[in-house]
């Protein structure tokens, strides 16, 4: 068994990154798109398994390739992110199911709590730190671009580059949770805590803080509960996150 403190740290770090990235994904109305984008990892996992590589390597490569494809198509054609992601996602799912067997596919979708080596924990923590640092240092640029690309451009922000970096941060976040939660559930950990934060917060800092806290709380509580019940942690974590969303709905800020 791997060092439990390391695993715990990694799940908390991963949750913080997911919560922070999720805020801008939700505010950009990318909720469904980002869930779908996470599935782009599938063909990469299939290829990696076929080549006897670590699945995360293939997943990350596929996610980055998918991200650049989405970004490029969106820029060239002006078609909304959601549509482009929808098409790329379906293609990825089709290719992924051709490349992977049934069991492998279920593991990739829902995660398989295996043992994590020290290098996996180290790499995961570094990725989570990089994503969190990106969102926190670029939050001003991201929010200005969100409100108006024209204001952002006249303020000297490289909008296209910033959007590519955001999609890359998103891809890295999904790849982080892959081994643990699976691509399906990692997409949910990005979106649900951020959606909870969106209806509670009155400002940007509040939203970022609440999203990160809700993601960490769901992850840690989900793990504890899963261990008690003898279940895999992934689905329990998402159930806790979704319950937090529903329970806080009555507290929704009206204006």
């Amino acid at each position: 068994m791997a060092d439990p403190t390391g695993t715990l740290l990694l799940s908390a770090g991963m949750a913080v990154a997911a919560g922070l990235v999720g805020c801008f994904a939700v505010m950009r109305r990318m909720s469904l798109a980002s869930d779908a984008l996470s599935h782009v990892a599938l063909p990469g996992i299939g290829i990696a398994l076929a080549l006897h590589l670590h699945p995360v390597v293939g997943a990350l490569a596929a996610l980055l390739a998918g991200t650049v494809l989405v970004w490029g198509l969106e820029r060239r054609t002006g078609i909304p992110t959601e549509t482009v992601v929808g098409v790329v996602f379906s293609l990825a799912l089709a290719v992924g199911s051709l490349l992977a067997t049934g069991d492998e596919l279920v593991d990739a979708l829902l995660g398989s709590p295996g043992r994590l080596g020290p290098w996996e924990i180290g790499l995961g923590l570094a990725g989570a730190a990089a994503v969190s640092a990106f969102v926190l240092t670029q939050r001003h640029r991201l929010v200005l671009t969100l409100v108006s690309r024209d204001i952002a451009r006249t303020s000297g922000i490289g909008v296209a580059r910033l959007e590519l970096l955001f999609l890359v941060a998103f891809a890295v976040t999904v790849a982080l949770g892959l081994r643990y939660l699976g691509v399906l559930l990692m997409g949910s950990l990005v979106i649900i805590p951020a959606a909870t934060a969106k209806h509670l917060a009155r400002g940007l800092s509040g939203m970022l803080g609440i999203a990160a806290a809700a993601a960490v709380l769901s992850t840690l509580a989900g793990e504890l509960l899963a261990a008690r019940l003898g279940h895999a942690p992934g689905p329990v974590i998402i159930a806790v996150a979704a319950s937090l969303f529903l329970v806080t709905l009555p507290l929704r800020r009206t204006r």
Binding site: V143, L144, I151, H199, A201, R202
Partner: protein, 230 residues
């Protein structure tokens, strides 16, 4: 003559549709230019070409080192976005290198109370949001302000106040103002030059020459009343 902007033979086309054709005009430093024209005549497209977000032919020459503050037309935003007015000011301030003191000054200049700026932007009225966007545009000490229909969605008394405020800010800061407006009486009073966009015959010159009843009737397809002031 000290021109802050010179535009020569500017044309913009989307596919086969030509939106702007062969526009030539210039804007003097510290002056106000009003852009008028019926809906669909390409006013916003012109602004977006000037800030470089729409591909175009011809030349657009801003004076070296010109800083632009842009106030867009109504934005398509979700009502429940957890972004407050202060978040927006802090964002622009951070990018433009302006501190809190400058943000406070900008809020004062546009007459927006701090309590209003603290609210989520989706909860602001049309006029309050316009003031906030103007304050955001003023951060970073711009030389030129591009204002796209400042009074869209603002009631009549509010419009008057908004224009008075824009004029005051322009005077205080020595700004050059480019303004899209449907309010011909306001244009007549405030603008040094008028650029009217119409597919048949774009025209450019001082309001007294451009805003003749015959020209307005031709531009809008119907006679339109406005009050001349001294």
């Amino acid at each position: 003559m000290d021109a802050v902007l010179r535009v020569e033979n500017l044309s913009v086309a989307f596919g086969d549709v030509e939106v702007l054709r062969d526009l030539t005009f210039s804007v003097e430093r510290g002056s106000a230019l009003a852009v008028i024209g019926p809906n669909g005549s390409g006013k916003t497209v012109l602004f977006r070409a000037l800030i470089g977000t729409v591909p175009c032919r011809g030349t657009i020459r801003w004076a070296p080192g010109t800083r632009i503050g842009y106030v867009p037309q109504k934005l398509d935003l979700e009502r429940d976005l957890p972004v407050s007015g202060f978040d927006l000011l802090a964002a622009k301030g951070s990018v433009a290198g302006a501190g809190r003191a400058e943000a406070a000054l900008a809020l004062e200049l546009v007459n927006l109370p701090r309590a209003t700026a603290a609210r989520p932007i989706g909860a602001l009225s049309g006029g309050q949001f316009q003031r906030l966007l103007l304050a955001v545009a003023l951060l970073g000490r711009p030389d030129v302000l591009l204002f796209d229909e400042p009074t869209a969605g603002v009631d009549a008394p509010g419009q008057e106040q908004l224009y008075e405020m824009i004029r005051r800010v322009q005077r205080d800061r020595g700004l050059t103002l480019l303004l899209i407006s449907h309010e011909l009486s306001v244009v007549y009073r405030h603008a040094a030059n008028v650029l009217c966009l119409s597919r048949e015959r774009p025209c450019f010159g001082p309001p007294a020459e451009i805003l003749t009843p015959a020209a307005i009737a031709q531009l809008y397809g119907a006679p339109l009343g406005f009050h001349r002031h001294g």
